[in-house]
Amino acid sequence: MGGSVTNAGQKTFAEKFRSRKVQRYLVIITFMFVPLLLLLVFTYIPFAKMVQFSFYDMKYIGTRTFVGLKNYVDVFKRSDIFGSLFVSVYYMGGAVVQLALALFFATMMVFKVKGESVFKAAMFFPYLVCGIAVGFIFKFFYARGYVLDTILQVFGMNPDNIPLWLQDQKINNFSLVATSVWRYTGQNMVLFLGAMMSVDTDLYEAASLDGANKWHQFRYIIMPSIKSIIVLNLVLSISGSLSAFEPPYVITNGNMGTGTYFVIMNRLAHENQRVGLACAMAIVLLVIIIICTVAQNLFFKYAFNDGTEDESKAAVRRKKREAKKGGA
């Protein structure tokens, strides 16, 4: 008798399992459980704590005192933090240089190049090198009497005129920014190249047969296809320059006026244990990132409201028509 009861129970369970409605919820719950749990524990709980801690003067362990907005005032008043915002300006400048270089080299590669894959690989590879290794490579590169100094002497520069690349406060931030440019230019180039290639390649052929010169091809075919990715990268470079971390961390440890926002935040949080202040810095950074993202979305909405591809095609068609008229 007992057996028949469990049998009936199993049947109904199996039936229930087969019913679509139960199955739906089962799938939704089982498939979402782990990602949602991770999201909660490693994103939203830390985020809530970050907001909370930013109003306290506290260490990781021990008592905490509520200080209101004092931490936020300190972010803008302390010379080390405010100074790091100026250091970020160097990295922003570097990001613009890097985008310009990437755009230039990507354009060069769209026009047929022999050995394209070798150039592309050589320029892209620095992106895959880990940040710590990049730090060591350039510590060696810039150190007094080592790589860069030797190369400059080979080109006939007097050793007395060579500055101290990492110690001289007038130039050390340029030296560090150059390492980021070295690391990311190739990657940006690959992104631009991908976007340029997504344009129908017949367009280039058609345009050059119709007598469009290289500048016209760039202006009317390449630019429209990548302007959105350029704007995206410019916006990302703002938050990216505030987040610059590894080059100054490994090469100069943020000394001699090279501390970026993250290097200072890392020092305050984990070495000085000024957790509340570090949290306030994080919230300020988040606000800047949100402003950038909103600005970017508004820009895309109002600046590029028509399909960019159509525009480039229309331009080529226009040129073709003109060329035909000229020929006739």
């Binding site: 199955q23 739906r24 089962l26 799938v27 939704i28 498939f31 990602p35 991770l38 524990v41 490693f42 994103t43 939203y44 709980i45 830390p46 985020f47 704590k49 970050m50 801690f53 990781y60 270089l101 080299f105 590669m109 190049v113 894959s117 050589a122 320029m123 892209f124 620095p126 895959l128 090198v129 880990c130 940040g131 710590i132 290794a133 060591f136 490579i137 060696f140 590169f141 080592y146 030797t150 190369i151 080979v154 070295w182 690959v190 992104l191 991908g194 010169n213 990715i229 938050s239 505030l242 987040s243 590894e246 993250f262 949080a269 570090a278 949290c279 950074l285 988040l286 990132i289 993202t293």
Partner: protein, 281 residues
């Protein structure tokens, strides 16, 4: 149909190749100098110019010393374990979540999707200030599994890639399978998962590179020497070696070589992965 050769296009070609050669040289010279230095004996290192070739490219002494002092073999093993577990779990959790969010309508779906989107805006290193406290209270510090879980939880790039991919995957596949009596689990694992291959490759490439090179969390959460990963092992060269760049360069090369080999084999997938990952904005 030979294209006309004129002065303008010749000058353009010369400039094109010159600029590309110059840029490639700038990209590789800092690494090449490191290769030279890594093969030099102490005496050579002190007496020769950094641009001189080493006496022999078979002098592996510096590599041996670097591997022994920083315990790099153990660190490679740790990195390999972390890589495999994190990649496998992220592929499954990412694709399963994307399947549910893309194919089912249920209350709260929109909110959950925006929660994931907003999470991608939060600045990584800044978040670690409070994640550290959570890791501490969960007793996850100095455990390899704790580090793996934090890596699975903080990077949402694979979820993005799968969400995007599902949008271009026709619903009629699911519908016909369900008509044939397939369960939702069956639809996902038997029908859709095999079709996700391009998205899986993209997410493996992007996440693989970022996990292999990850330094910050590893440095925070794995402080015991026997738990270090390859990037934190490399960082230990900062203190004791000071200016012994022949050892440091050997250490740098040891960490770069695996990813260089990976890149040379999977170049195409790496480039397309980069392009796919960039669209997320």
């Amino acid at each position: 149909m030979k294209p006309k050769i004129n002065a303008g296009s010749v000058i353009f070609s010369i400039l094109k190749y010159l600029s590309l050669i110059l840029a490639s040289l700038i990209a590789v010279i800092p690494v090449i100098v490191c290769v030279f230095t890594a093969f030099k004996t102490n005496e050579e290192y002190e007496t020769t110019s950094v641009l001189d070739l080493p006496a022999s490219f078979l002098n592996f002494e510096n590599f041996q010393i670097a591997i022994e002092r920083a315990n790099m073999l153990r660190c490679f093993l740790n990195t390999a374990i972390v890589l495999v577990v994190v990649l496998v779990v992220s592929v499954f959790t990412g694709s399963m979540l994307a399947y549910v969010l893309n194919r089912f309508k249920f209350p709260g779906r929109g909110i959950i999707e925006s929660l994931f989107l907003f999470a991608s805006l939060l600045p990584g290193i800044a978040m670690q200030v409070t994640i550290y406290q959570i890791m501490y209270s969960l007793n996850f510090i100095n455990h390899l599994y704790g580090y793996m879980i934090v890596l699975m939880g903080t990077d949402i790039i694979s979820i993005y890639i799968f969400l995007q991919f599902f949008e271009n995957l026709s619903v009629s596949l699911d519908e016909s399978a369900i008509m044939d009596g397939c369960t939702y689990f069956g639809v996902f694992f038997k029908i859709l998962f095999p079709l996700l291959k391009p998205a899986i490759v993209t997410s493996l490439v992007l996440k693989g590179v970022s996990v292999y090179n990850e330094y910050y969390s590893s440095n925070l959460y794995l402080t015991k020497p026997e738990l270090k990963t390859i990037s934190t092992a490399l960082y230990t060269f900062t203190g004791p070696y000071g200016n012994q760049y022949n050892y440091i360069c050997a250490g740098v090369l040891i960490t770069i070589i695996p990813i260089l080999i990976f890149f040379l084999i999977f170049q195409k997938q790496v480039y397309s992965g980069m392009a796919a990952g960039a669209v997320k904005g």
